[in-house]
Amino acid sequence: METLTIKIWRGADTGSFQTFSVPKRENQTILDVVTEIQQRQDQSISYRFACRVGVCGSCAMTVNGKPRWTCRTHIGALKSSVITIEPLKNMPRIKDLVADMSGFFDKWGQAGNDFNSDKTRHDAPVQIDPESKQRKAANAAIECINCGVCYAACDVVRWNDDYLGPAALNRAWSLVNDVRHNRKQDTIAAAMGAGGCGNCHSQGNCMTACPIGLSPTRSIAGLKQMSLMSLMGKRDA
């Protein structure tokens, strides 16, 4: 039977790769491989997953150097029988394949990403035209599930510790286009601050890596434009 050579990161920020051999099957994802190794060869391997079908975003890892959802990465798509699996980059490593995502989520908050409304359940729901420019802009960004793949793919995140990163700014973009959001100016101010949208070099790694094809690059470009308008005094740019 054909076998796969799997190199899995063991340890935290310091550590090394451990090599495993796994039978190649007709239908097999990276997550299947990690699970098989953990259940049949070495139970001490730590990794994260929940839904196994590309909904939750918790199984993202670095596979052959690129950030991916392991549950949606078919072995055949890699066109290689030697596969290295590491935790997501740009985050501290906790153990084996598990990265510490707290910095990623903290920045999510720092980008002014808390929805704020003074409406209560007694108010009528806001009517939003699905064809409106703002709704369409929000729609393009809104499907993000915080998996951290774009954050791991971004060079500017690697270079600049203060940079909020593509996911947080993408969220800010969907929020400033949400007409129900009360603190639009606060969100814009946070998104254009020291770690904000001005740091983006528009390299588009986030867009290339996003498993569901979102373009944080476009969202950040929108924020840049909005911050310019805001600088020129146009409040509702």
């Binding site: 600049n160 254009m192 020291a194 001005g198 600088l231």
Partner: protein, 112 residues
């Protein structure tokens, strides 16, 4: 707001410099068709107040633009803290502006 202002300044100076670089290069190409000596360059520059105005503006743009780019490089590749990068960029701005204006001043014959 500071970040956005600096962001705009860098893009604005880049936009202004783009045609200036073309004028600068075209002038060099044109000028080298004749003899290229210190005396001929000085004569040409001193005969045209527009060139002095042009290069004064050019120097100011460069002095703003270059330190802003270096500031980001210092932060991203040099891993410097923002406050340190700000300080270095500010010093570079003063140095570039001083050297540039001193050069333009010399071209006008002002420095003797």
């Amino acid at each position: 707001m500071l970040e956005v202002r600096l962001y705009v300044l860098q893009r604005l100076t880049a936009a202004i410099m783009a045609p200036m670089v073309i004028v600068h290069l075209a002038t060099i190409l044109y000028a080298t068709r004749a003899e290229l000596t210190a005396a001929s360059i000085l004569a040409r520059v001193q005969s045209s107040p527009w060139l002095v105005v042009f290069y004064t503006a050019f120097v100011v743009m460069v002095a703003i633009h270059a330190p802003l780019g270096l500031r980001k490089i210092l932060i991203e590749w040099g891993r410097l803290r923002m406050s340190a990068a700000n300080m270095i960029s500010l010093v570079l701005f003063v140095v570039f502006l001083g050297m540039g204006l001193r050069g333009v001043w010399a071209l006008t014959g002002g420095a003797g």
